[in-house]
């Protein structure tokens, strides 16, 4: 809200902005000729751009690394499940051996 109230903390700003707006050049006025790239600009951009199609670009490498990491986590989860299940089975089969009732105590 543009106010002229003496209590408006932005009053000074409104005044300066109103003055500047008349002379403010918005980026690229319609009547301005289209700028051309400076010499060497296009060559520099093309030299630095990501690998052309056909070769694996940085994005492809990132995707591959992410897939490998996800597969590793899955494998670790499955193997740990298997391990603990197996151990528990073993523990339960050995349990009677350590049952105090199986020992002949005086």
């Amino acid at each position: 809200m543009k106010t002229n109230s003496p209590n408006d903390p932005a009053r000074e700003w409104w005044r300066l902005a109103a003055e500047a707006r008349a002379q403010w050049s918005p980026p690229g006025p319609a009547d301005e000729p289209a700028p051309v790239p400076p010499s060497g600009f296009v060559t520099r951009v093309l030299a630095q751009r990501p690998t052309a199609s056909g070769a694996a670009g940085p994005l492809a490498w990132w995707r591959a690394a992410r897939a490998v990491a996800a597969a590793s986590v899955l494998l670790a989860a499955v193997s740990s499940c298997w391990y603990f299940t197996e151990s528990r089975d073993e523990r339960s089969s050995l349990a009677p051996l350590f049952d105090p009732r199986t020992f002949d105590l005086p």
């Binding site: 408006d8 903390p9 932005a10 009053r11 000074e12 700003w13 409104w14 005044r15 300066l16 902005a17 003055e19 500047a20 707006r21 002379q23 403010w24 050049s25 918005p26 980026p27 690229g28 289209a34 700028p35 051309v36 790239p37 400076p38 600009f41 296009v42 520099r44 951009v45 093309l46 630095q48 751009r49 990501p50 052309a52 199609s53 056909g54 670009g57 940085p58 994005l59």
Partner: protein, 194 residues
């Protein structure tokens, strides 16, 4: 306009097939679009050409993501705007503006036009630019778009990727800050006159 007649879809198809000539043509055609966004919005100390180069590198790396739902120049303009915004966010140092930092023309612009002895020699634009530089990046962009480029809150929200209330609050805080800085400078000027 030549840029409107340019066949972007065909050129894009050639670029995707690895045609360097088409890529060169695409950069040349889009350069004015990118520079129009970047110029005047680049943070202090960052050359618009360097920002434009960064925009084109981003464009090439994200070309696979372009679905063609909007015209290519609009998509690239959006990349250019977000690149400017990222640079503004990275800029941490906010200069404290003092009376001695202002040129004679900027000092003249501090005084209201009606009470100034002469209207000549006032450089309001330079003064406003210096005041805007004291804001943080996103706030500077919001105020520039709203108060100097006459964009609507909805347009600014769309460009920034923000909701309307965030745009309004940011603008309100920034204007209050700008008002306080301008008032401080004017008080300094009045003290010097005494």
């Amino acid at each position: 306009m030549a840029a409107d007649e340019f066949d972007y879809p065909t050129c894009l198809a050639h670029v995707r097939q690895g045609d360097d000539g088409a890529a060169r043509e695409l950069v040349t055609q889009l350069y004015p679009v990118v520079l129009r966004v970047v110029r005047g919005r680049a943070p202090v100390g960052v050359a618009p050409e360097d920002l434009a180069q960064e925009v084109f590198l981003k464009m090439f790396s994200r070309l696979e993501q372009f679905r063609g739902e909007s015209p290519l120049p609009h998509w690239v303009a959006r990349i250019a705007f977000t690149t400017c915004l990222e640079h503004h966010r990275r800029r941490r140092a906010r200069p404290e503006l003092s009376w001695s930092d202002l040129s004679a023309a900027e000092q003249a612009a501090i005084e209201p036009r009606e009470s100034a002895p002469a209207n000549e020699g006032r450089d309001s634009v330079a003064l406003v630019r210096k005041l805007l530089d004291t804001l943080d990046g996103p706030a500077r962009l919001v105020v520039t778009l709203l108060d100097l480029e006459d964009k609507s809150v909805a347009e600014v929200g769309e460009l920034m990727g923000w909701g309307a209330s965030r745009v309004k609050i940011t603008a309100w805080r920034a204007r209050r800050e700008l008002g306080a800085t301008a008032r401080r400078l004017r008080l300094h000027e009045e003290l010097l006159k005494r």
